[in-house]
């Protein structure tokens, strides 16, 4: 078994109201010095067997078609050791 992680983040130029709300809550809790918060999604995919190049290409397709919306989001794929 292998684990592949797909991280999905809003593109930098897209306003993130959720991240902004989280950022706004920090000073109220007494935490200072956080300049900005962006909120994203993390997907952990459990893979049967080895993560071959072909497998990785498929996961890239999964990330680009279902897990993220390329209009508003970027993603990164990483294989966990």
């Amino acid at each position: 078994m292998a684990r592949v992680v797909v991280d999905v983040m809003l593109k930098p130029d897209i306003l993130d109201p959720q991240g902004k709300a989280v950022h706004g809550a920090l000073p109220r809790l007494g935490f200072q010095g956080v300049v900005a918060v962006r909120q994203g999604k993390r997907f952990e995919l459990e893979i049967d067997g080895e993560v071959s190049d072909q497998r990785l290409a498929e996961i890239d397709e999964i990330a680009g078609t279902l897990l993220s919306n390329p209009v508003i989001e970027d993603y990164t794929v990483s294989v966990q050791p």
Binding site: D13, I14, L67, V71
Partner: protein, 227 residues
Amino acid sequence: MKIGVVTFPGSLDDADARRASEIAGAETVPMWHGDHDLAGVDAVVLPGGFSYGDYLRCGAIARFAPVMAEVVAAAERGMPVLGICNGFQILCESHLLPGALMRNEHQRFVCRDQRVRIENASTAWTSAYDAGQHVTFVLKSGEGGYVADVSTLDRLEGDGRVVARYLEVNPNGSLRDIAGISNERGNVVGLMPHPEHAVDELCGPGTDGLGFFISVMKHVANGSVAR
């Protein structure tokens, strides 16, 4: 004239969309997300609601429902398709319309009678209106902020594909006050406010919404539809 209304798991406004179509004089055909054909309908409405619980992203999973393969193919042939609210989100996720709908800028769900201006009265769904006409629909959404990159927004504006714009207040942070857009051909329209909730004086803010359903009937009667 048959209007098909698709029900996804989690759709809310399918019954209202059928009722609005019927008040306008159309025959309606209930359709299911798992259907593999469109049962000979002349137009399709993707209704509002929370398809698949809005999991992942609004409309992201509905886009891959079996019926959507048929809807996308028919839309590309010119069949009128209207996506309202969650239906608009599904149309964007399906890439039938550009851009995306984001969480409301102020983070709150909005439920209000919303004034909008019909900007383009030549689409399959808006010909019963006059360009520039002010109407009142119902807006009820948490993720209704329309976003697209600047070049897409400029192209939409330049080609007259902004179908409706919010008036008085921008309720959700939509770029350029956009409430609805169309594809190039004008047969596919996505709209965040609900015209189907404004078809009856008794239980809505008037009957301004009927125009969408009357427009599409006129469009189909004129024979400009490829099934």
